[in-house]
């Protein structure tokens, strides 16, 4: 039995499920609105929510997509008992999560959220080329037009800011200095690119796409700024074996076995930009006929 941890209406999850059905693989899907209780029967533990109920040892593989398994918190009136029981529950939950994560998996709840700064540090350590980066509170040291800034957060959208329901924070070039200082911000050397590469990574396999947008001012710094008139070309690409090897090492270090990875190709160099574990990767994959959703379903 496959366990899928996701959110309601999540498109990538829905697409993978279509393939699980086609491959006749059984699965359980857990969404964000579920609260589990940990229980035991005949020396086996199982967890139960209003929708799902399963033995932990019946689960053969786990796909952590989004959200997470949440547990019901039981409180006690007596403070001394409560302190003890909170810890008791904590270790039980920890056990369940660790048991699940020790199975064959595609990503894990505990490591899926990556720290972009740490990822860059680690990428350097494994020998990948990484554009120089630093944190600053003002633009004094920033070299104009040769520096970019982007959010450190996993989620790059802001909801209900000013008049917009949803705003996306793109990568931008710093074009002028700021008079005032500001909240500590991420800056990175801008690389003159030939093109960008986005790889869908699954447990050591790379499905790479070259995103050709160099002909186009609008998408020069961030291909997500989409140009509808003349869309980017997304074509199949093979990263050099040594880049794949180092990146694979990086993913092992991060303990993340599925995600999309961005690079910039500049001359002979492949600059590593970031790893994204929760993004939507199906669009780019489909344009190259990779069918990444099928690869995930087969792996599980």
């Amino acid at each position: 039995m496959i366990l899928i941890i996701s959110r309601k209406q999540e498109t990538t999850t829905n697409e993978v499920i279509k393939w699980l059905l086609a491959l006749v693989k059984k699965f359980i899907r857990v969404d964000e609105d579920e609260e589990f209780e940990i229980r035991a029967k005949e020396k086996r533990i199982y967890i139960e929510s209003h929708r799902n109920c399963f033995y932990i040892d019946d689960i053969s593989s786990v796909w952590y997509r989004r959200g997470g398994i949440r547990f019901k918190k039981i409180q006690y009136d007596n403070p001394a008992v409560d302190v003890h029981m909170q810890e008791h529950q904590h270790w039980l939950q920890d056990y369940v999560i660790k048991k699940l994560e020790s199975k064959k998996h595609v990503n894990k709840q505990s490591t899926s959220a990556v720290n972009k700064l740490m990822v860059l540090e680690q990428a350097k350590k494994v020998g990948l080329d990484v554009p120089e980066f630093y944190l600053a509170e003002d633009t004094a040291e920033v070299v104009l037009d040769k520096t970019i800034t982007k959010p450190l957060t996993g989620n790059i959208t802001i909801n209900n800011y000013q008049d917009y329901a949803e705003s996306i924070m793109y990568t931008n070039i710093v074009e002028h200095k700021e008079k005032d200082s500001f909240f500590i911000t991420f800056f990175q050397e801008k690389i003159e690119k030939d093109f960008e590469i986005r790889s869908f990574y699954l447990n050591g396999d790379f499905y790479s796409t070259a995103i050709m947008s160099q002909n186009d001012e609008q998408t020069k710094t961030d291909f997500r700024k989409y140009n509808l008139q003349k869309p980017n070309r997304n074509v199949r690409y093979r990263l050099p074996a040594k880049i794949e090897k180092k990146t694979h090492q990086l993913m092992l270090l991060l303990d993340v076995n599925c995600g999309s990875i961005d690079f910039i190709k500049s001359g002979d160099k492949f600059y590593f930009l970031e790893v994204n574990t929760v993004g939507q990767f199906l669009g780019v994959s489909a344009m190259c006929n990779y069918t990444a959703e099928k690869a995930i379903a087969e792996y599980l």
């Binding site: 086609a22 050709m212 003349k230 199949r236 190259c288 006929n289």
Partner: protein, 356 residues
């Protein structure tokens, strides 16, 4: 030395006298000369400078112009020293998770039985086309929509009889309530109730013609569809019937309602069981490469391969009809489009199908 690299999402289909260049990312196709085809072929095995030496001075200019054209259209790019071999070719496989992806029904109403809805869900059907020879009230459309909320169905197209109730308010109400209906065709309509410029969630067509089920299968330049998934499907399968199921007005299960062979009736057998019939998928793997005339046509990868109405001239060893679609007036050897319905060679087949 400089090298020209053709993008892997550019598909070139060679016809007898010309080629069709299909841009599978930007979803358009254009006709070009065989001369360009030959040059593109030469660029695949020789450096640009080498290719130029194959031609005399005058022709070199033409080659240069072709190259500029290819670059301007972003069909490819230039590299130094060698081709960039890291650009991998497009894998031509077609992968579809659903057992059946399309259903085409001819019905007297839009009321689908619970069993049929269940079968649609079990098969993972994504696209629904209903041809309904009736005047339908608004509630029929709305009820159909709601029977598919929370289902695997992604799109619904409905052909139905126009009637005076279909006015602006009708369309507006449907616009509010529809989610999966993406195309509506009202036929037998003299005066369309909405302006052609009005924008709705769905494609809306009012036709003054009297469409019938056997109006299906017309081949025309304007119906050609350049779309990566459709082209991949056409390269591997029959571009109309693959993963399709049809139900005719009497409930007979077929490959499409206009095909002759029946695989049971929905009143007696579930769709899931009907498709297990050994001949149900017989046409699925017949590609345009197997079809006479079409196999040499530059449009073969973007064209629909109708098997319900053909010229009825040839069958293969397995008994499958491999004749050219009847409703195509194109001749790949002359590149002329003519009216198919008046072609004397087609009259016998036209009569056979009762298309007069």
């Amino acid at each position: 030395m400089k090298y020209f690299n053709l993008f892997s999402d550019i598909l070139i289909t060679k016809g007898i006298n010309r080629i069709l260049i299909s841009d599978l990312q930007r979803n358009n196709s254009e006709l070009q000369s065989l001369e360009l085809y030959n040059i593109i072929e030469e660029f695949k095995s020789h450096a640009i400078e080498e290719v130029l030496t194959f031609y005399d001075e005058e022709s070199q200019e033409i080659v240069q112009e072709y190259l500029n054209f290819l670059l301007e259209k972003e069909y490819g790019f230039i590299t130094e020293k060698d081709w960039d071999k890291n650009f991998a070719p497009l894998a031509p496989e077609f992968r579809e998770a659903s057992k059946i992806s399309n259903i085409f029904m001819e019905r007297a109403d839009l009321l689908l039985s619970p069993q049929l809805l269940q079968s649609i869900a079990n098969l993972g059907i994504k696209h629904l086309v209903i041809y309904c020879d009736a005047a339908l009230p608004l509630t029929s459309f709305v009820d159909l929509e709601s029977s598919f909320s929370n289902s695997c169905v992604e799109s619904i197209e409905i052909f139905s009889h126009y009637h005076p109730e279909v006015d602006q308010d009708f369309i507006k109400a449907l616009h509010e309530k529809s989610a999966r209906i993406y195309s509506l065709i009202f036929y037998n309509c003299e005066n369309p109730p909405v302006e052609p410029s009005d924008i709705f969630k769905f494609n809306l067509v009012f036709s003054d013609q009297s469409l019938r089920l056997n109006s299906c299968g017309k081949v025309d330049f304007k119906y050609f569809d350049t779309n990566l998934m459709k082209v991949l499907e056409a390269l591997n399968h029959n571009s109309c019937l693959n993963k399709k199921i049809g139900i005719d007005k009497d409930g007979n299960i077929k490959n499409c309602p206009a095909m002759p062979q029946r695989f049971g009736n929905i009143n007696d057998i579930a769709l899931e069981d009907a498709i297990k019939h050994e001949e149900f998928k017989a046409y699925w793997n017949l590609t345009k490469n197997d079809i006479l005339v079409c196999r040499d046509c530059e449009f073969r990868n973007v064209c629909t391969d109708c098997r319900a109405f053909t010229e009825r001239t040839h069958t293969n060893q397995s008994g499958l009809d491999i004749s050219k679609p009847l409703k195509c007036g194109y001749d790949p050897s002359t590149n002329v489009w003519e009216d198919w319905s008046t072609n004397p060679l087609k009259q016998k087949a036209i009569e056979y199908y009762g298309l007069k």
